[in-house]
Symmetry: C2
């Protein structure tokens, strides 16, 4: 999504050129290009698919059938991780506790299905500013409280610096997740202010913001994480620019800030 302006072939070719060994994909461009065609494109280039985004929205719009389809797509793409953005308050509700309970129920229905296909569900806690309308799971501890009801091979969490950097309990939660083998994805974005209207598309390029990104890499690796590190920047300004340039800058920023 950092360079969603690129076609999948351009994305893959430039990742190979820049030495980026894997890509996280979103369902919509994969569906547009074709599931099998995408799998072949990435595989033939020697890249891995680090994760697929996203399942979830259990409290509102996305049904379990569509979530099962997302699991199938992850398996077809050869990735072991489906990221879940779980959904906010149910329509008309003001009950976050009920929303979190519904999220746990939905995951209970999906986890065995995912496990049978070699796909791990990765619950992503989103920043509390999204609690009402996107994700009632706001902290790593909340995500782990749900994940720990299931085997680690079925359900874990995403650690995304943008969402957890403010939380003084997050370092302990990272250790808790790592000890249980439940860090299923690690994503980087920086926190830049002022936030844009709607607060969705203002994630900062690495190094431009308030987050000590290297510290978070150290934390997850000290917790035992050895998987890929993704950079996920939702940013209107980046999307308006030349995608190849943005990809090059992002790769450079990665090496400079956390490499």
């Amino acid at each position: 999504m950092t360079v969603r302006q690129l076609s999948l072939p351009d994305l893959v070719a430039n990742c190979v050129r820049l030495g980026v060994p894997g890509v996280g994909l979103w369902r919509e461009p994969v569906a547009e290009y074709g599931l099998e065609a995408t799998a072949k494109l990435v595989r033939d280039a020697g890249l891995t698919v680090t994760s697929l985004c996203r399942g979830g929205f259990f409290t509102t719009t996305q049904g379990l059938d569509d979530n099962r389809a997302a699991i199938d797509e992850a398996a077809a793409l050869g990735t072991d991780t489906l990221v879940l953005v779980s959904g906010g308050l149910a329509p008309g509700s003001r009950d976050l506790t009920a929303a979190r309970a519904r999220i746990g129920e939905a995951i209970a229905e999906l986890a065995p299905y995912a496990g049978e296909r070699g796909v791990r569900l990765a619950i992503e806690p989103l920043h509390p500013m999204y609690a009402a309308d996107r994700c009632a799971v706001s902290t790593l501890d909340q995500a782990l409280d749900i994940a720990e009801r299931f085997p680690a091979a079925q359900v874990g969490v995403v650690v995304d610096t943008y969402h957890v950097w403010w939380d003084d309990r997050a370092p302990a939660a990272v250790a808790r997740a790592g000890a249980a083998g439940r860090i299923h994805a690690f994503q980087l974005a920086d926190w830049t202010t002022p936030l844009p209207a709607g607060v969705l598309n203002g994630r900062g390029p690495l190094g431009d913001g308030a987050i000590d990104l290297r510290r978070w890499r150290t934390l997850v690796e000290e917790a035992g994480y050895t998987g890929p590190i993704e950079v996920e920047l939702f940013n209107d300004e980046l999307w308006a620019r030349n995608g190849v340039e943005v990809l090059e800058e992002t790769a450079e920023g990665f090496v400079r800030e956390v490499g």
Copy 2:
């Protein structure tokens, strides 16, 4: 601040007319109208000053001398509560832990001074979306961790629904604060989406948003709180309207939603 477009005399006269028994004031309009004149205006009308906003910004712009001045102003206005918005990251820093430590040090310097003047410092945890640039104290537990180093007559916390509603640990923190006599202010605003650019001035009128406000009133009262309930709406749309109408609607909303 809910009706900052009103002059202080208009604010006071309309509060009296509507049966609103007290007002929270901000330093800037008080300074403009005159400290002694404001104290007399409110006192002669039979209103109480529920709190003064604000001290704080310890990590950046506001020095201790100016914070002492704010304490003096609170005493002169006859209110026992000065609200603290503590400040975010120091310039060039990415260390929230250091910011929180600095906030604790500053409060240690101010607390006895406040106590001698009958003013309680009220640490306001701000929503985590303000952690970088306005307040590194993001949860009630963090605020209490600082407050509990001092006598409750010197330092406590603000419970503002807008800032804490998303936090599953906040109800327990409210009980913790109440048991120690440290809930020094209780403020209401609703959470409406989408958030505006800059995320400062989009606090929702009571009942328009995602927060179960009545539950929070119950929580603070079950924790032993018997003080005033303030409504603090930073909202560009409300500020652009007739202030008397907004004040009337706010009073009606208060009775309807939490009365």
